[in-house]
Protein backbone atom coordinates (compact mmCIF):
# COMPACT_ATOMS: atom_id res chain seq x y z
CA UNK A 1 0.00 0.00 0.00
CA UNK A 2 1.12 3.53 -0.72
CA UNK A 3 1.57 5.53 2.49
CA UNK A 4 -0.57 8.66 2.28
CA UNK A 5 -0.04 11.87 4.24
CA UNK A 6 -2.12 15.04 4.43
CA UNK A 7 0.34 17.82 3.57
CA UNK A 8 4.11 17.39 3.49
CA UNK A 9 5.52 13.92 4.13
CA UNK A 10 7.53 13.47 7.35
CA UNK A 11 10.56 12.57 5.24
CA UNK A 12 13.14 11.69 7.86
CA UNK A 13 10.95 9.61 10.21
CA UNK A 14 9.60 7.72 7.20
CA UNK A 15 13.08 6.99 5.84
CA UNK A 16 14.16 5.92 9.33
CA UNK A 17 11.24 3.54 9.65
CA UNK A 18 11.97 1.94 6.25
CA UNK A 19 15.73 1.74 6.93
CA UNK A 20 15.17 0.06 10.30
CA UNK A 21 12.62 -2.32 8.82
CA UNK A 22 14.89 -3.63 6.06
CA UNK A 23 18.48 -3.18 7.18
CA UNK A 24 18.87 -6.82 8.26
CA UNK A 25 16.99 -8.26 5.28
CA UNK A 26 20.01 -8.80 3.06
CA UNK A 27 19.64 -5.69 0.91
CA UNK A 28 23.02 -4.09 0.25
CA UNK A 29 21.61 -0.91 -1.27
CA UNK A 30 18.82 1.43 -0.21
CA UNK A 31 18.16 4.17 -2.76
CA UNK A 32 15.49 6.69 -1.81
CA UNK A 33 14.03 9.42 -3.97
CA UNK A 34 12.80 12.57 -2.29
CA UNK A 35 10.77 15.05 -4.31
CA UNK A 36 11.10 18.54 -2.86
CA UNK A 37 8.70 21.38 -3.72
CA UNK A 38 10.72 24.13 -5.37
CA UNK A 39 9.97 27.85 -5.30
CA UNK A 40 9.24 28.62 -8.95
CA UNK A 41 6.69 30.69 -10.88
CA UNK A 42 5.89 32.51 -7.67
CA UNK A 43 4.13 29.53 -6.08
CA UNK A 44 3.64 29.11 -2.34
CA UNK A 45 3.51 25.36 -2.79
CA UNK A 46 1.75 22.57 -4.62
CA UNK A 47 -1.48 20.77 -3.95
CA UNK A 48 -2.48 17.22 -4.83
CA UNK A 49 -5.54 15.08 -5.44
CA UNK A 50 -5.18 11.30 -5.47
CA UNK A 51 -7.48 8.53 -6.52
CA UNK A 52 -6.52 5.95 -3.94
CA UNK A 53 -8.20 2.77 -5.29
CA UNK A 54 -6.29 2.97 -8.57
CA UNK A 55 -3.13 4.32 -6.95
CA UNK A 56 -2.88 1.25 -4.75
CA UNK A 57 -3.75 -1.00 -7.67
CA UNK A 58 -0.98 0.63 -9.74
CA UNK A 59 1.51 0.22 -6.91
CA UNK A 60 0.79 -3.50 -6.43
CA UNK A 61 2.86 -4.54 -9.42
CA UNK A 62 5.89 -2.80 -7.88
CA UNK A 63 5.25 -3.99 -4.34
CA UNK A 64 5.45 -7.68 -5.16
CA UNK A 65 8.63 -8.12 -7.20
CA UNK A 66 10.88 -10.94 -6.02
CA UNK A 67 14.28 -9.24 -5.99
CA UNK A 68 13.45 -5.72 -4.83
CA UNK A 69 11.51 -4.03 -2.05
CA UNK A 70 9.91 -0.73 -2.96
CA UNK A 71 8.32 1.61 -0.44
CA UNK A 72 6.42 4.74 -1.34
CA UNK A 73 4.70 7.70 0.32
CA UNK A 74 2.73 10.57 -1.23
CA UNK A 75 0.92 13.67 -0.03
CA UNK A 76 -2.57 14.87 -0.65
CA UNK A 77 -3.71 18.44 -0.10
CA UNK A 78 -1.30 21.36 0.21
CA UNK A 79 2.48 20.96 0.38
CA UNK A 80 4.57 24.05 0.93
CA UNK A 81 7.84 25.03 -0.72
CA UNK A 82 10.69 23.10 0.91
CA UNK A 83 8.41 20.25 1.94
CA UNK A 84 8.19 16.89 0.19
CA UNK A 85 5.18 15.43 -1.58
CA UNK A 86 6.73 12.23 -2.95
CA UNK A 87 9.08 9.82 -1.25
CA UNK A 88 10.12 6.34 -2.23
CA UNK A 89 12.95 3.94 -1.51
CA UNK A 90 14.22 0.95 -3.44
CA UNK A 91 16.03 -1.86 -1.60
CA UNK A 92 18.10 -4.33 -3.63
CA UNK A 93 20.90 -6.77 -3.00
CA UNK A 94 23.29 -4.94 -5.32
CA UNK A 95 23.41 -1.32 -6.43
CA UNK A 96 23.06 -1.79 -10.19
CA UNK A 97 19.57 -3.25 -10.10
CA UNK A 98 18.70 -0.58 -7.55
CA UNK A 99 19.52 2.24 -9.97
CA UNK A 100 17.52 0.49 -12.67
CA UNK A 101 14.46 -0.14 -10.50
CA UNK A 102 14.45 3.35 -9.03
CA UNK A 103 14.42 5.01 -12.42
CA UNK A 104 11.85 2.65 -13.90
CA UNK A 105 9.63 2.99 -10.87
CA UNK A 106 9.74 6.78 -10.74
CA UNK A 107 9.14 7.13 -14.49
CA UNK A 108 6.17 4.74 -14.31
CA UNK A 109 4.89 6.68 -11.32
CA UNK A 110 5.09 9.97 -13.20
CA UNK A 111 3.30 8.52 -16.24
CA UNK A 112 0.64 6.36 -14.62
CA UNK A 113 -0.10 7.09 -10.98
CA UNK A 114 -3.57 8.69 -10.68
CA UNK A 115 -2.44 11.90 -9.02
CA UNK A 116 -3.18 15.50 -9.99
CA UNK A 117 -0.91 18.38 -9.11
CA UNK A 118 -1.83 22.04 -8.75
CA UNK A 119 0.22 25.16 -8.24
CA UNK A 120 -0.71 26.99 -5.06
CA UNK A 121 -0.85 30.76 -5.42
CA UNK A 122 -2.47 33.01 -2.85
CA UNK A 123 -4.41 30.09 -1.46
CA UNK A 124 -5.78 29.08 -4.87
CA UNK A 125 -5.17 25.82 -6.73
CA UNK A 126 -4.22 26.16 -10.39
CA UNK A 127 -4.08 23.06 -12.59
CA UNK A 128 -1.27 23.25 -15.17
CA UNK A 129 -2.40 20.95 -17.94
CA UNK A 130 0.83 21.32 -19.94
CA UNK A 131 2.75 19.61 -17.15
CA UNK A 132 0.42 16.63 -16.98
CA UNK A 133 0.58 13.37 -18.93
CA UNK A 134 -2.35 11.67 -20.60
CA UNK A 135 -3.06 8.18 -19.30
CA UNK A 136 -3.26 5.13 -21.63
CA UNK A 137 -6.23 5.25 -24.01
CA UNK A 138 -6.94 8.86 -23.17
CA UNK A 139 -9.61 10.39 -25.39
CA UNK A 140 -11.62 7.19 -25.73
CA UNK A 141 -14.89 8.97 -24.89
CA UNK A 142 -14.15 11.93 -27.13
CA UNK A 143 -16.67 12.85 -29.85
CA UNK A 144 -14.10 12.74 -32.63
CA UNK A 145 -12.93 9.21 -31.84
Amino acid sequence: MVEIFKGGIPVIPTLERWYEEFKFEGYGAMIPFIGIVRAENGIDGLSFDLYLPMLNEWFKKWANLPDVKIMMAHSFGDVKVGESSFLCAVFTKHRKEGFKYLEEFVEDFKANAPIWKYDLKEGKRIFVKERAKKLPNAGILSKGE
Binding site: G35, F48, D49, L50, Y51, P53, M54, E57, H74, S85, F86, V106, F109, K110, A111, N112, A113, P114, I115, W116, K117, Y118, F127, V128, K129, R131, A132, K133, K134, L135, P136, N137, A138, G139, I140, L141, S142, K143, G144
Partner: protein, 73 residues
Protein backbone atom coordinates in the same frame (compact mmCIF):
# COMPACT_ATOMS: atom_id res chain seq x y z
CA UNK B 1 -27.83 3.07 -12.47
CA UNK B 2 -24.16 3.66 -13.24
CA UNK B 3 -22.10 6.03 -11.11
CA UNK B 4 -19.77 8.39 -12.98
CA UNK B 5 -17.03 10.25 -11.08
CA UNK B 6 -14.85 13.06 -12.40
CA UNK B 7 -11.39 13.12 -10.88
CA UNK B 8 -8.76 15.73 -10.18
CA UNK B 9 -9.22 19.12 -11.82
CA UNK B 10 -12.58 18.40 -13.51
CA UNK B 11 -14.98 20.44 -11.46
CA UNK B 12 -18.05 18.32 -11.68
CA UNK B 13 -20.04 16.40 -9.09
CA UNK B 14 -20.50 12.62 -9.48
CA UNK B 15 -23.56 11.57 -11.51
CA UNK B 16 -25.86 8.56 -11.44
CA UNK B 17 -26.85 7.78 -15.00
CA UNK B 18 -28.94 5.21 -16.80
CA UNK B 19 -26.73 3.90 -19.62
CA UNK B 20 -26.16 0.36 -20.88
CA UNK B 21 -22.66 0.75 -22.27
CA UNK B 22 -19.78 3.17 -22.81
CA UNK B 23 -21.09 4.30 -26.18
CA UNK B 24 -24.25 5.58 -24.53
CA UNK B 25 -22.18 7.28 -21.85
CA UNK B 26 -20.07 8.93 -24.52
CA UNK B 27 -23.21 10.37 -26.22
CA UNK B 28 -24.49 11.63 -22.91
CA UNK B 29 -21.31 13.28 -21.65
CA UNK B 30 -20.50 14.97 -24.96
CA UNK B 31 -23.71 16.97 -24.77
CA UNK B 32 -21.87 19.23 -22.37
CA UNK B 33 -19.28 21.30 -24.26
CA UNK B 34 -16.98 21.85 -21.29
CA UNK B 35 -16.99 18.11 -20.59
CA UNK B 36 -16.39 17.37 -24.24
CA UNK B 37 -13.11 19.29 -24.05
CA UNK B 38 -12.01 17.30 -21.01
CA UNK B 39 -12.91 13.98 -22.65
CA UNK B 40 -10.31 14.54 -25.38
CA UNK B 41 -7.62 14.32 -22.72
CA UNK B 42 -9.14 11.84 -20.30
CA UNK B 43 -8.74 8.13 -19.75
CA UNK B 44 -11.72 6.12 -18.55
CA UNK B 45 -11.86 3.35 -15.96
CA UNK B 46 -14.74 0.96 -15.36
CA UNK B 47 -14.68 -0.42 -11.83
CA UNK B 48 -11.18 1.02 -11.47
CA UNK B 49 -9.69 -0.65 -14.56
CA UNK B 50 -8.71 1.57 -17.47
CA UNK B 51 -10.57 0.55 -20.62
CA UNK B 52 -9.05 0.39 -24.10
CA UNK B 53 -12.27 -0.06 -26.07
CA UNK B 54 -15.79 1.35 -26.12
CA UNK B 55 -17.23 -2.17 -26.34
CA UNK B 56 -17.92 -2.36 -22.65
CA UNK B 57 -21.36 -3.14 -21.29
CA UNK B 58 -22.35 -1.40 -18.08
CA UNK B 59 -24.63 -2.84 -15.46
CA UNK B 60 -26.39 -1.53 -12.41
CA UNK B 61 -23.87 -0.55 -9.72
CA UNK B 62 -20.89 -0.17 -12.05
CA UNK B 63 -18.58 2.76 -11.45
CA UNK B 64 -17.00 4.78 -14.24
CA UNK B 65 -14.24 7.26 -13.46
CA UNK B 66 -12.96 9.94 -15.80
CA UNK B 67 -9.21 10.49 -15.34
CA UNK B 68 -7.58 13.69 -16.62
CA UNK B 69 -3.84 13.82 -17.43
CA UNK B 70 -1.78 12.99 -14.33
CA UNK B 71 1.19 14.57 -12.66
CA UNK B 72 2.31 13.10 -9.38
CA UNK B 73 5.44 13.76 -7.38
Amino acid sequence: MVRVEFLGPIEKEPMEVDVKNLKELKELLNKNEEMSKWLKECAVAVNDKIVSSLDVELKDGDKVVILPPVCGG
